[in-house]
């Protein structure tokens, strides 16, 4: 299916899910079924026990993204969905990057790591493992530089995001609605 991607831009979405078996599977199944362009996805515990937090980025035009959010909301175990793309957010991602080095290039790499305020967490005779945390652009630029050395192995977590400012009563999992029958 060819899509006109000229109006596409990337949205960052945060979803709060019930922490139960199979819930993530439902969410991923939905993305595949509805053909959403998911680029990154990260899921883990939230501040509320029993509630996990999913951050993902989806590329599309406004209507596609609106659909993605609405369809996600329809899943019974999804508690809340928020599009944080246009809100002030902090966004962080972590990468572990194994760089091949020799005696000559090791200092250069260490300098770059220093400049980026990243850390070296593993050393061997021919490689260093760099741990870097930051937003996506910052990581991209560090990785770009390190790839000259070259990079032999890399893992990225994908971004997680949190809106800036006051902690509002988010209603993510706290307001459990009891329907008396």
């Amino acid at each position: 299916m060819t899509q006109d991607t000229s109006t596409f831009h990337k949205h960052t979405i945060v979803a709060w899910l019930e922490d139960k078996p199979g819930v993530l599977s439902r969410v991923l199944s939905l993305f595949r079924r509805r053909n959403f362009n998911i680029e990154n996805l990260s899921v883990g515990q939230s501040e509320t026990p029993g509630v996990s937090r999913l951050t993902f980025t989806v590329a599309g035009d406004d209507r596609m993204v609106e659909q993605a959010i609405k369809q996600l909301n329809k899943i019974i175990n999804v508690l809340r969905v928020e599009d944080v793309t246009h809100k002030p957010t902090v966004q962080r991602e972590m990468a572990l990057i194994r760089v091949k080095v020799d005696a000559k290039t090791r200092p250069e790499v260490m300098q770059l790591v220093d400049i980026y305020r990243a850390n070296i967490i593993d050393v061997s005779m021919d490689s260093l493992v760099v741990q870097a945390v930051g937003n996506e652009e910052r990581l991209n630029s560090l990785i770009d530089l390190l790839s000259n050395f070259p990079i032999t192995e890399m893992v990225r977590t994908g971004p997680v995001a949190m809106t800036r400012g006051r902690s509002s009563a988010n209603g993510n999992g706290k307001h459990i609605r009891r329907m008396a029958l």
């Binding site: 019930e18 439902r26 659909q67 609405k70 019974i76 999804v78 508690l79 609605r177 029958l181």
Partner: protein
């Protein structure tokens, strides 16, 4: 919907039970029935098997009736037909493995048409899960995309709560099918049964309230419209909003066209009804959509069969979308005014703000289009052969429009929609969203149990009949008084039509040989007749309609007849393929 002694709470109907209930020890299998009966279920459809045997063993102690199907697909469609007539949940039981996978088609059918069905399947014991055990399938994985929600029960202490939730999810919000897969050791296990008072679903918000500001904006648009038009869909029936719809139409003289699943929202005999719109809808309805300046979509989702080419759909109109499911708004057609809410509530809020109006020129234009269409209507032409539109129209006359009609899928389905004039909701049962061949016979059986004192006619193409004719066994065993009209043309008709129109008459795989349906019916102990002559149609329909018990009619109709008008795929809805009618020696004749 009346349920004796019941009370309505947030859309649920509960039969009264003594409030001081001693808790009691029950097996998992018994808990299934304890919850089902409290949820108001007295009829279930299914086929027993190893994993679900405990449920069947516990059944006779409870006030429920079980209808044994012949294929789980049939059982699923029976539950669907039952649900469409009552408006409440239909229940299907099946065992594990192949039985559960046989439910996929009826679950998908119910999902696409928003029908409340609860499917309960047996599963291998918890110790064998994931082991490729005998008759094990990952049912919850397989049905994830075709159910509103599903559950796997591995602990008996979750069972009552899950079943309660399943019913709640199936019947509230936008209804849909829910599957509950229960491990066999859970069914055999025992615990204290406590009927859950609450349903805790923090992520489920079935009711979004009514958007008052949008109602104002909608009223403004409608009051200033010169050529307003309503498209009414299934949502009007689900909300029970047919009165409000008619009041709106009559107050401001707004013509109403209906989707396939909306037929009956307003009586088709009403002067403001334009009949069905869309791919095989009436020309006047499609032309009206293209010419209108305010389009009010109520309880419909702008499906592709209705809109044709989206870029060319309703080019001159501001769109008001009154819709219950937020995900449907702006999904296909951008709404100028989106009214998120239940159709009945929305229309009730809207009505007082609508000014009476007449729109005489608009009505005259639509009447003109209707007059043009009459010349091309095959029923107004000289036709000696037996053709399906004639059968449909005579069925309407003979039943006086006072019957439940269940159709299968294909040409006959379209002709029934066009020529039988539906005048009330929940009258026409048809697989619209999924287009499932084989739907009609089992759904008609389910419909009978939902409304035992109403006649039920099943209109089925020969191709569709061969898909689920094993359910004639149910008609035989239970003496289900359904009337079966087979529209028999020896082809997979709708596919043949496409091959004729778009594939150069390359009838690959479409000619289909049929058994002698009269002999077959007799083998099942069902009285039957064959009709080959136009002159015999009415008499046989009368005989069948007044016969006490099941009856089958094999209508052997002219083979190569097409459904018109037609909007070819990817075309705008006013780009219609019309029937060719020519002036013959004795009057207007179709050019076959």
């Amino acid at each position: 919907m009346e349920r004796p002694g019941g009370r309505e709470v947030e859309g649920l109907f509960l039969t009264p039970f003594p409030t001081q209930e001693k808790t009691m020890k029950r097996t998992g299998a018994q808990i299934v029935w304890e919850v089902l009966t409290r949820e108001g279920i007295d009829t279930v459809f299914g086929i027993p098997g190893g994993a679900i045997l405990p449920v069947y063993d516990a059944m006779p102690a409870y006030p429920v009736r079980h209808i044994l199907a012949r294929h789980e697909q049939g059982a699923g469609h029976m539950a669907d037909g039952y649900a469409r007539v009552t408006g409440d949940v239909g229940v299907v039981l099946a065992t594990s493995g192949p039985a559960a996978t046989n439910l996929v088609t009826p679950l998908a059918t119910a999902m696409m048409d928003s029908v409340p069905v609860v499917a309960i399947t047996g599963q291998v014991p918890t110790s064998l899960l994931g082991n490729d055990a005998f008759q094990e399938t990952d049912v919850t994985g397989v049905t994830m995309g075709v159910t509103k929600h599903n559950y796997l029960v591995t602990d008996i202490n979750d069972l009552a709560q899950i079943l309660r939730e399943a019913f709640y999810i199936a019947r509230t919000g936008r209804p849909g099918p829910v599957l509950v897969d229960i491990c066999k050791d859970v069914l055999n296990d025992e615990t204290e049964f406590i009927f859950p008072e609450e349903v805790q679903l923090p992520g489920y918000q079935p009711y979004m309230g009514l958007d008052e500001a949008a109602i104002e904006a909608a009223a403004e648009l409608i009051n200033n419209a010169h050529r307003p038009l309503i498209i009414a869909g299934h949502g009007v029936q689900m909300a029970g909003a047919e009165n409000e719809l008619r009041q709106l139409a009559e107050k401001a003289h707004i013509p109403v066209t209906m989707t396939l699943l909306g037929l009956g929202d307003i009586p088709e005999t009403h002067p403001l009804s334009l009949g069905m719109c869309g791919m095989h809808g009436e020309a006047r309805a499609n032309k009206a959509i293209q010419a209108c300046d305010v389009l009010i979509g109520i309880g419909m989702r702008f499906d592709d069969r209705v809109t044709g080419k989206l870029e060319a759909f309703a080019p001159n109109a501001k769109v008001i979308h009154i819709e219950f499911d937020p995900a449907e708004i702006n999904k296909n057609v951008p709404a100028d005014v989106a009214v998120l809410g239940d159709a009945k509530e929305a229309l009730q809020a809207l009505l007082p703000k609508i000014k009476p109006a007449e729109h005489r020129n608009w009505m005259a234009q639509i009447d003109e289009w209707n007059r043009e269409s009459q010349e091309l209507d095959i029923l107004n032409a000289e036709v000696e052969e037996l053709i399906p539109p004639y059968v449909m129209r005579q069925l309407w006359h003979v039943t006086q429009g006072n019957t439940i009609v269940v159709t299968d899928v294909g040409q006959h389905q379209m002709w029934e929609a066009q020529y039988f004039l539906h005048d009330r909701p929940r009258q026409l049962l048809t697989s619209g969203g999924l287009g499932t061949m084989g739907y009609a016979l089992p759904a008609a059986i389910g419909a009978h149990y939902a409304a035992p004192d109403q006649p039920v006619w099943a209109v089925i193409g020969d191709g569709s009949m061969q898909m689920t004719l094993q359910e004639l066994g149910v008609v035989m065993q239970e003496r289900v008084p359904v009337k079966i009209a087979i529209i028999n043309n020896g082809f997979l008709g709708m596919v043949r039509q496409w091959q004729e129109l778009f594939y150069n008459k390359n009838y690959a795989g479409t000619p289909i040989a049929n058994p002698d349906y009269v002999l077959l019916a007799q083998a099942y102990g069902i009285p039957a007749r064959r009709v080959t002559d136009k002159a015999d149609v009415v008499a046989v329909l009368e005989e069948a309609h007044h016969h006490d018990g099941p009856f089958l009619i094999d209508f052997q109709v002219k083979e190569e007849v097409n459904v018109y008008p037609m909007v070819a795929p990817g075309e705008a809805i006013d780009n219609l393929l019309r029937r060719r009618i020519v002036q013959g020696p004795s009057g207007l004749q179709p050019a076959w």
